[in-house]
C-alpha cells in the first residue's frame, strides 16, 4: 500500500514536470482495495481487469514499478512498450488484462475472461473492478445478467470512491447503495469498508469461496475515497478541502495499517526501514522511466495486427 502511495505521489510529480502526458488518474486513498482483494487471489489461475485508474492494481499484483513508470513516461521499456500509457496497461503473463479507457467496458470484458475460465474449466476466478461512475453504464447490467445466467466465476468489484469525476454518487444514482445493484439479477452484494485492508481481505475470501463453489458471480461494493482529483487536470472544486482532510485524518488506509502494526509490536524503526526501502524503489523507478529511451520510430506500425496478410 505504501508502495502504491509513493508511486502515485511520484507519478504526480513527474506529470507536473511534463514527463507524463495525457490523462493520469491516481489511486491515492484507495490503496487498501487493490491490496486487500488481490492478496487473496491465486496468481496462477485468477485474472484481474480494471478501468483507467489502474496503476495501483498492477503494483498490488507484484508488477515491477519500473516498467509501469516507464509506460507512464511513454518509453520503450514500458509494460506496453510505450504504446498504451497510463490508462492502457496489460500483463497477460501475470493475469492482468488491463487497463481500459472506456468507462464500464472492462465489466463485460471481465465477464468474457470468466467465460473463458468456465469454458476451460480451469478453476480460475476473474476480479472485475469498476467505479461508482461506471456502475451507471448499461453494459454493466448486460454483463450482470449473462454472468448470473451462465454462473460465470467473477467477482464484480465496485470501487465507490464517491465521485464520478465531479458528480457525487448521490447526484447520479437512484439507488446509491451500490452493493444492491445486482439484486434484480440475483447477484448477492456485500458492502465493505474499503479503507480497511483487513476487512477488504476478509470480504475477498468470502467472495472467492462463493464463486469457487460454483455459485456464480458476487458483487462487492468497496467504500473508499480518492484524495486527489479525478485526473491530474481536475481541480476538484466539487468537494471541500475539509471533506478530504477529514477522510485523511480519520480513515486513511495506510495510517490504519500502521496502527495495527504498532499494536502487533512492530517498532517505529522497522516501519521507517520499510518506508526507506520503498522510497529507494520509487526513486529507481522514476530514474529508469526518465532515462530509458523512447520507442523506436519503426515501432509506429508494429502490433497493429498480429498477422501479415
Amino acid at each position: 500500500m505504501l508502495l502504491i502511495r509513493r508511486f502515485e505521489e511520484k507519478a504526480g510529480q513527474l506529470y507536473g514536470l511534463g514527463l507524463i502526458g495525457g490523462f493520469c488518474h491516481l489511486y491515492i486513498g484507495q490503496e487498501a482495495v487493490a491490496v486487500g482483494l488481490q492478496s487473496a487471489l491465486d496468481g496462477d489461475k485468477d485474472k484481474v481487469i480494471t478501468g483507467y485508474r489502474d496503476h495501483g492494481h498492477m503494483l498490488a499484483y507484484g508488477l515491477d514499478p519500473k516498467v509501469i513508470m516507464a509506460e507512464l513516461t511513454g518509453r520503450a521499456a514500458g509494460i506496453a512498450q510505450g504504446k498504451g500509457g497510463s490508462m492502457h496497461m496489460f500483463s497477460v503473463e501475470k493475469g492482468f488484462y488491463g487497463g481500459h479507457g472506456i468507462v464500464g467496458a472492462q465489466v463485460p470484458l471481465g465477464a468474457g475472461l470468466a467465460f473463458a475460465q468456465k469454458y476451460n474449466d480451469d478453476g480460475g476466478v476473474t476480479l472485475a473492478y469498476f467505479g461508482d461512475g461506471a456502475a451507471n453504464q448499461g453494459q454493466v447490467y448486460e454483463a450482470f445478467n449473462m454472468a448470473e445466467l451462465w454462473k460465470l466465476p467473477i467477482i464484480f468489484v465496485i470501487e465507490n470512491n464517491q465521485y464520478a469525476m465531479g458528480t457525487s454518487v448521490n447526484r447520479s444514482s437512484a439507488e446509491d447503495q451500490l452493493y444492491r445493484r445486482g439484486e434484480s439479477f440475483r447477484i448477492p452484494g456485500l458492502q465493505v469498508n474499503g479503507m480497511d485492508v483487513l476487512e477488504v481481505r476478509g470480504a475477498a475470501t468470502v467472495a472467492l469461496d462463493w464463486v469457487r463453489a460454483g455459485k456464480g458471480p458476487i458483487l462487492l461494493e468497496l467504500k473508499t475515497y480518492r484524495y486527489r482529483g479525478h485526473s491530474m487536470s481536475d481541480p476538484a472544486k466539487y468537494r471541500s478541502r475539509e471533506e478530504v482532510q477529514s477522510v485523511r485524518e480519520k480513515s486513511d488506509p495506510i495510517e490504519g495499517v500502521k496502527k495495527d502494526l504498532e499494536a502487533a509490536g512492530i517498532s517505529e524503526d522497522e516501519m521507517k526501514a520499510i518506508d526507506k526501502e520503498i522510497k529507494a524503489i520509487i526513486g529507481e523507478a522514476a530514474d529508469f522511466a526518465e532515462s530509458s529511451p523512447e520507442p523506436d520510430p519503426d515501432e509506429l506500425y508494429t502490433d497493429v495486427l498480429v498477422e501479415q496478410y
Binding site: 497477460v92 487497463g99 467496458a105 463485460p108 467465460f115 473463458a116 449473462m146 497493429v304 498480429v306 496478410y309
Partner: protein, 464 residues
C-alpha cells in the same frame, strides 16, 4: 366469387418456397385460423393459415412442389353459398399484381438489388472459383448460408477453442439459419444463445478472445452491432497495439450487413466503411459461397479481430464451392471475377452481382468490363485495383451503400494518388442514393444501386 389462395411471402426476402404438405384436401371446410399447409422457405418451415372461411374447392399445386413463386395461386376456396364442385381451376399460376399501374415495374415484393444478383452459371467456368483451386477439383453447389455454416462447423471440429454465440444461434438454429445444426453437433457449451444484449455479449466475446478462446459472435444484423461498436473498435481493435503486442483478440464478428428488402432505414445500412476505417481490424465482405466459406475459415483462424460482413439477400443463392478437405482463402486478396480490357469495375459483396449484370449489358454494346471483387476491405488489395486500372485506364466503383466517405471514395483516392498516370477518365462512384433507406417499394428501388446506373457510369468513363 371463389377466393384465390396464393403462395405467401413469409419473410422480407422470400421469393419462392416449397409447398411441403397440404393439411387439407379438396372438399374440406376451413375457417379462419385453420392451418392449411406447411411451406418451407430456405430459412424455416412455416404454417399457412386460412384467413377466410369456406370450402377447399381445388388444390392447384400439389404437395412436395419446389420453387413455388410467391404469389402463385396454390388453391381455390369456395365461399358460403358457392358450390365447390363448380369452381374451375384458375388458369393463372403466376404472379398476379392487379394494383400495378406501370406495367414495366417489377413486382413490389422484390427489390432492385434482389433482382440483380447475377446467375453464377452464366459465367465461364474458369472464373467461378478462386484461382488457387487445383484444376479438376470436384465442385458442389452450396448456398452462401450453407457455406458459412460449413466453415464454422469445420473450424469448430478442428479447434476446441472455437465457439459461436449470439441471439437465436442455438435452439432457434439462427435467425437466418446460418448456424443450422451446430447446436446438435457441438452442444450448448459451444453454441450459445445470448439474451438480446449486443453491447454485453460483444464485450463478453471480446474478453473471452483476450483470454485465448476463438469466439464467433453473430449479430442478427450489423444494424444491431451499433450497440456493440465500442467493443468492436475500442476493445477488440485496439488492445493488441495498446498492449505492445501482448494481448491478442482473435475474434470474428459476423452477420448480415447492407440493405435487405423493404425493411426500412434502421435495418438497411452498409457498415463496411465504418469498420474498414479502423486500424487493428480486418474487414471481409464476400460475394460468392466459395469466398464466404474460404474467407470465414481464414477469419476464424486469424489471430486478429475480424469483422465479417455477410449479405442477407445472398444467403439463399447457390454457387459452386470446391470440395476440398480444407478450403481456405487468404485474407487481403481481391479476385478478378471477369476479365475485360475496356473499363474496370471494382466492387464487393452484393455489388459483384450488380457489376456482373452490368458487364453483360456492356458487352452487348462492345464494352468489356474487368471486374474486381475486393473480398477483403481491410487490408485492401491495392495492387489488384491498380493492376486492373493499368489494364483498362478507366474505373467505376460499385458499392451498395452511401457514397460519402465510402469504400468507393477510398478506391478513387488510391487511383488518384497511386494510379494517376493510368487514368484516362475520372473514377466514378456508383452507390446508393444519399438518403435513409425508404420503405416504399418504388422509392427503395430508386435509392439502391443497380446495373443500369453502373452501365451509365461505365459508358461515361469510356466517353460513349
Amino acid at each position: 366469387m371463389p377466393i384465390e389462395l396464393k403462395m405467401p411471402a413469409l419473410s422480407p426476402t422470400m421469393e419462392e418456397g416449397t409447398l411441403a404438405k397440404w393439411l387439407v384436401k379438396e372438399g374440406d371446410e376451413v375457417s379462419a385460423g385453420d392451418i392449411m399447409a406447411e411451406i418451407e422457405t430456405d430459412k424455416a418451415t412455416m404454417e399457412f393459415e386460412a384467413v377466410d372461411e369456406g370450402t377447399i374447392a381445388k388444390i392447384l399445386v400439389p404437395e412436395g412442389t419446389d420453387e413455388v413463386k410467391v404469389g402463385t395461386v396454390i388453391a381455390m376456396l369456395a365461399e358460403e353459398g358457392e358450390d365447390a364442385a363448380d369452381i374451375e381451376a384458375s388458369p393463372q399460376t403466376s404472379k398476379d399484381e392487379p394494383a400495378e399501374s406501370q406495367p414495366d415495374d417489377p413486382p413490389p415484393a422484390k427489390t432492385a438489388a434482389a433482382n440483380t444478383i447475377a446467375k453464377e452459371d452464366s459465367k465461364p467456368a474458369s472464373l467461378r472459383v478462386d484461382p488457387d483451386v487445383p484444376e479438376g477439383t470436384e465442385m458442389a453447389k452450396l448456398t452462401v448460408r450453407e457455406a458459412l455454416r460449413d466453415a464454422m462447423a469445420e473450424e469448430m471440429r478442428a479447434d476446441e477453442r472455437v465457439f459461436v454465440m449470439g441471439e437465436e444461434v442455438a435452439e432457434y438454429q439462427g435467425a437466418y439459419k446460418v448456424t443450422q445444426g451446430l447446436l446438435e453437433e457441438f452442444g450448448g457449451r459451444r453454441v450459445i444463445d445470448t439474451p438480446i444484449t449486443e453491447y454485453g455479449f460483444a464485450g463478453i466475446g471480446t474478453g473471452a478472445a483476450m483470454a485465448g478462446l476463438r469466439p464467433i459472435v453473430e449479430f442478427m444484423t450489423f444494424n444491431f452491432a451499433m450497440q456493440a461498436i465500442d467493443h468492436i473498435i475500442n476493445s477488440a481493435g485496439k488492445t493488441n497495439y495498446m498492449s505492445g503486442g501482448q494481448m491478442r483478440c482473435p475474434i470474428v464478428f459476423r452477420g448480415p450487413n447492407g440493405a435487405a428488402s423493404r425493411v426500412g432505414a434502421q435495418h438497411s445500412q452498409n457498415y463496411a466503411p465504418w469498420y474498414a476505417q479502423i486500424p487493428g481490424l480486418v474487414v471481409i465482405a464476400p460475394y460468392s459461397a466459395a469466398d464466404a466459406k474460404g474467407l470465414l475459415k481464414s477469419a476464424i483462424r486469424s489471430m486478429d479481430p475480424v469483422v465479417f460482413l455477410e449479405n442477407e439477400l445472398l444467403y439463399g443463392h447457390s454457387f459452386e464451392v470446391p470440395v476440398l478437405d480444407d478450403y481456405s482463402i487468404p485474407i487481403g486478396s481481391a479476385r478478378r471475377v471477369r476479365e475485360g480490357a475496356d473499363v474496370s469495375i471494382v466492387t464487393y459483396s452484393i455489388g459483384v452481382g450488380i457489376a456482373l449484370e452490368a458487364a453483360e449489358k456492356l458487352a452487348g454494346e462492345g464494352i468489356e468490363a474487368d471486374i474486381i471483387d475486393l473480398r477483403t476491405l481491410r487490408p485492401l488489395d491495392k495492387a489488384a485495383v491498380l493492376e486492373s486500372l493499368k489494364r483498362t485506364n478507366r474505373m467505376v466503383v460499385v458499392e451498395e451503400g452511401w457514397a460519402t466517405c465510402s469504400i468507393a471514395s477510398e478506391i478513387a483516392a488510391i487511383c488518384m494518388e497511386e494510379g494517376f498516370d493510368d487514368l484516362d477518365a475520372p473514377v466514378m462512384r456508383v452507390t446508393n442514393e444519399d438518403v435513409p433507406m425508404p420503405y416504399a417499394a418504388n422509392l427503395e428501388k430508386l435509392a439502391l444501386v443497380n446495373s443500369d446506373k453502373v452501365v451509365g457510369a461505365a459508358k461515361a468513363v469510356c466517353y460513349r
